[in-house]
């Protein structure tokens, strides 16, 4: 009889373990885009999810990578291609543009002034909020390498990891929500 009780206890623990997996409240996002509107959307989702108690991971890759550069950040020892990419891609959150209706920068400026007026946080403020709330940021090493970015050019962020796609997939596999943005 005692044996049966023990087995039942064991089963209960197993059920709880499985249940935890189904409710594990993690969100993983791939931020592939470097457009103001999409990056903004990714931070609205990220900060909203953390506020709801979810664990959030953002994986910045390709066009998303330059968004995390410091303004005026410099790095030595760059080859010609890296310098060209460095010059052509937006330098951090403040240089990011709308995907549509940019109109030579006018549309982007309009959107930013509108956001201010309507009390929508700017990308800079969103990033700060994300840092405070504990959103984890991953940066794709392959993208850094391809675009010739050096780590000293990237912003200071409390929870920032350089990694490959495998590390992201590991997180995504245990997430309830995954998005490619």
């Amino acid at each position: 009889m005692e044996n049966v009780e023990k087995q039942i206890e064991g089963l209960k623990a197993q059920i709880q373990a499985v249940d935890k997996k189904t409710t594990e409240s993690k969100l993983s996002m791939i931020v592939f885009s470097g457009d103001l509107d999409k990056v903004l959307a990714s931070f609205v989702i990220a900060t909203g999810a953390v506020a709801m108690g979810m664990d959030v991971v953002m994986f910045f890759t390709f066009w998303g990578t330059p968004v995390l550069r410091k303004k005026g950040g410099k790095a030595s020892g760059k080859d010609f291609m890296s310098k060209m990419f460095g010059a052509m891609l937006p330098e951090g959150t403040s240089a990011v543009k709308l995907s549509k209706m940019n109109m030579g920068g006018m549309g982007t400026a309009m959107m930013k002034s509108l956001m201010k007026k309507k009390n929508v946080a700017s990308l800079e403020q969103m990033l700060e909020m994300a840092a405070e709330l504990g959103v984890r940021i991953f940066i794709c090493e392959m993208s850094m390498d391809l675009m010739g970015f050096k780590r000293e050019e990237i912003i200071d962020y409390p929870d920032l990891t350089y990694c490959g796609v495998a590390k992201f997939l590991e997180e995504a596999q245990n997430s309830r929500i995954q998005l490619f943005i």
Copy 2:
């Protein structure tokens, strides 16, 4: 002995509850894009999923918002910026354009005529089908506010809710499939 039987019954119920969670057949989509091709894809997925017995939620945000405007819908009391956005963004499903090969509208017109010829439902028909099948539509309040859209400008749809990102995430958390389009 009776006690053990009861406990086993309890475990069975728990396992069923966990199992239900893993199979809950819900699909949540963020429709961020306002391009004809992408919005079309989102409705093909949405109606396909409902037809398979899934519960479907579409969350329209940013460029996706104007797609749900009424044609010729008017609203009073708009400021200058809102009027400008109103004029520049597509007015409903019939004004939406291809993301590529639009070619001054020719590509979009070609695609629409092709769809008709090949018996692919138009965006207007898709929306009607979605309404009939019970696809739930959420509209992002922040986008409405940013773009200066008023509720009287939005189409009549049976199951339409204005909400924030938190409400969407709640749905997404309990969904088997989540997509950002």
Copy 3:
């Protein structure tokens, strides 16, 4: 007593079955985009996931469809529209362009030479790798029909299926990760 033991065994099996569902390691991707950068990202994710032991399904639709055309592939009996689409859309992996900074092809050429230099596999190599690793490819029949592509124009790939959205959703429903690219 024997009865109880049997019931406990039954419960264990049920728990394992539910657990398997929560950990079923499948990834489903919709490759909607036909841009070099995005298609590349989708293959990096796909091959990375298979290498981790996941089962991977890629569903090519809309602009993603022409990426899978053979170079110089011909098909007879095409109408005017199909011929036009055929001529305007990229003919396979080698003709695919960057979504940004294409600059009349220069940006795309630069990116390709960079990838070679940095030992990042090209799209052609990725496709080969995907085939070897057992990534399953689905092609959207509606897109094939809309764009007027014939099956003889599509590349030879070991595990290739023509299907509709329902078949994809079936796979997605049993996947841990789903992405729309």
